[in-house]
């Protein structure tokens, strides 16, 4: 008569929330129990430090200076951080001594940001990213198991989202084996939707900022837009959200000129959030103009085109050429028949980052991720 719902395998979705449910499934069965409370006071549980040390599985960021060349490098307890581990049958992830409580989690995140991600001596940044990405994932895992929510949860997720947004811009164009934009996107979306869920209750200092970032990162998404329209009045009418909505409106109306002009007003992190859409916005502009200005006798000045594309002249000319638009000295000639969709391999998004680059100026990465920019 009483068939337990917990014995049924839970649906597996790769979309946001799916991974959280996967990691949650062990604790589902104890649904009626109180959530586990961690007692580990260090960034990495001592048992794990010893284990990884013995198995030579320390990351070189975690190794005690001077022992790197040893057969078994020693761990620097102040720099070892708990790694992400896949949930598996028989593995107990709820041992209190191995779980870090929220205040330790926040300290861990701050260490990862200030002492690893923002540390200029750590190169290459792809390696920094891999390490921080994994350790942040483990932080989220601890939060899921302990069912952390509210402002403590938001503080961690906000920094995570800022980090992943920054990474999506900084590592854009890197070879796939070093950085995978799809994986970054999955985790970014997951963290972002979890964060927005946290915001649904209570007051949060940075809510305006992140609602706007979500709208920019998810430019044109009906779901993100509908969510924004349903926000409380004060949040919806805050300037970051209004700007993000205006950009979305320009996108929906198919007015890339307006979109790119509004993009000038974004701050650095907002520009990072938007940046992956810039290439297609520019392409769209060229497509529309190819049809709208299609005439053999007409010429369009490259300088003007470069201005509205927010690109340098030479790059604008290159972009035109990859789309089959005829460049003639200082002018282009648009023709609806010659526009081609497929961009050539050479011209990548990464070459056209100036719009975003210029906004960084002398902001420190640390300040950007902590939100003190």
């Amino acid at each position: 008569m009483n068939r337990s719902a917990a014995s049924r395998p839970r649906p597996h979705s790769r979309k946001a929330g799916g991974r959280r449910r996967e990691e949650h499934c062990k604790t589902e069965e104890k649904a009626d129990d109180v959530a586990p409370r961690g007692t580990c006071t260090t960034m990495c549980p001592i048992s794990e430090v010893r284990q990884r040390e013995a198995q030579n599985r320390l990351h070189h960021f975690e190794v005690l200076a001077g022992t790197e060349r040893n057969r078994l490098p020693r761990a620097d307890v102040c720099r070892a951080v708990k790694e992400y581990s896949r949930p598996a049958a028989g593995k107990d992830t709820t041992r209190a001594s191995e779980l870090r409580p929220p205040d330790v989690l926040l300290k861990t995140v701050c260490y990862l940001v200030d002492d690893v991600a923002a540390c200029p001596s750590r190169q290459p940044w792809t390696e920094v990213y891999s390490f921080v990405f994994d350790r942040l994932r483990s932080v989220r895992q601890d939060m899921v198991i302990q069912r952390v929510s509210g402002p403590e949860c938001a503080s961690v997720l906000e920094r995570t989202v800022r980090f992943l947004l920054y990474a999506s811009y900084r590592l854009c164009g890197q070879p796939l084996r070093l950085y995978d934009p799809h994986i970054n996107d999955t985790h970014l979306q997951e963290s972002l939707s979890w964060l927005l869920e946290c915001y649904s209750e209570g007051q949060h200092q940075h809510q305006d900022e992140f609602q706007a970032l979500s709208l920019l990162y998810n430019l044109g998404s009906p779901r993100a837009l509908q969510h924004a329209l349903e926000l409380p009045h004060k949040v919806r009418h805050s300037s970051p959200v209004q700007l993000a909505l205006a950009l979305n409106r320009a996108y929906m109306e198919r007015n890339p000129v307006r979109l790119l002009r509004l993009a000038q007003r974004l701050d650095f992190l907002q520009a990072c959030a938007l940046h992956r859409h810039l290439l297609s916005c520019r392409r769209d502009l060229l497509l529309l103009y190819s049809h709208g200005h299609s005439s053999r006798n007409c010429r369009f000045p490259i300088q003007k085109l470069a201005d509205i594309l927010s690109l340098e002249c030479s790059l604008a000319a290159q972009l035109c050429q990859t789309h089959g638009i005829h460049v003639n000295g200082d002018y282009v000639v648009f023709s609806k028949g010659s526009f081609t969709e497929s961009p050539s391999e050479e011209l990548q998004c990464a070459h056209m980052h100036k719009l975003v680059d210029d906004k960084q100026q002398d902001l420190s990465l640390s300040n950007i991720i902590h939100g003190i920019a």
């Binding site: 068939r3 007015n255 000129v257 002009r261 709208g292 299609s294 509205i308």
Partner: protein, 381 residues
Amino acid sequence: GAQILLLRYTSLFSQVLEAIDTRDGVFCAELLSFKHPHVANPRLQLSSPEDKCQQVLEPPYDEMVAAHLRCTYAVANHDFVEAYKSFQAHKEENWCSHCLRGQAEQQLQKKGKGKVGDMLEKAAEQLMSCFRVCASDNRAGIDDSKKWGMLFLINQLFKIYFKINKLHLCKPLIRAIDSSNLKDDYSMAQRVTYKYYVGRKAMFDSNFKLAEEYLSFSFQHSHRSCQRNKRLILIYLLPVKMLLGHMPTTQLLKKYDLMQFTDVTKAVSEGNLLLLNEALAKHETFFIRCGIFLILEKLKIITYRNLFKKVYLLLKTHQLPLDAFLVALKMMQVEEVDIDEVQCILANLIYMGHIKGYISHQHQKLVVSKQNPFPPLSSVS
């Protein structure tokens, strides 16, 4: 169905037995549904009816009726969560979980426990397994086939998917019906509901011609007396028709109490961007709640087209200075618009086929075709 006074649960049992013997599925379903008045009878509300059921009825009916009775008890005590749980244990047979689920949601929301979305997703899983049972029923003859249950279940699933905003899950269900040979033989009520949801999905996919077809069908065939349903369908049909260039009459809007659309309609047909923005702002809450705000914003493009056509008709020339359009936009109090943006808006209209012509940047002019430069809206898109 006939009103039956069920004084004791034994009467319920004999009624169920009789229904089973005479294979009266409809009546049986009624007896086990919540729409039947017997559920209010306190003597039928038992918290542990299993033993009694097992004495009288054979499996699986004993479990079904027991679950139903547990439910009535739980509902009577306003414990909808418990009531829903009893239904969950009998996914194969229970088709009436819908209203119960809705009430369970409400209660959970009030208690703050868990999330409505999760409950709905669970309900959807239950319904999906019922659906699969029906869809794979190749054994029985057409009259007895469980396939008749498919459309009902699909409509329930659609309702949930729309609520939790997971429209992509509708696709396999639509495919199932499209490939079914029963699709035109279901009851009109079910088909109306089906087309309503499929129409809304087409809207979401920006497939406006298809959306118009489905929603029109739904509107025309929904029962004359059901004003509420017709109004609901119209809320979605109107924006689609407007995007295709067909404006509703004030008479229609009055009849169905949809005056929120009057200003929008007027603004679009006159090319009055200012009025459009005002109208959208004024009834924002209503439009957002119905989920049509974003679609209505698409009407801006049609409005630009209508406005620019007026400029063309006024100037009576085929070589129109771009400045004229800029002036028109500024008169409509469009914020921060410049000549570059005007070019972009025009380029888009040309690309979409709303204007036949080209822009000359050097001469700062829009040169339009001498023949039919602004084709009728219904012939475009």
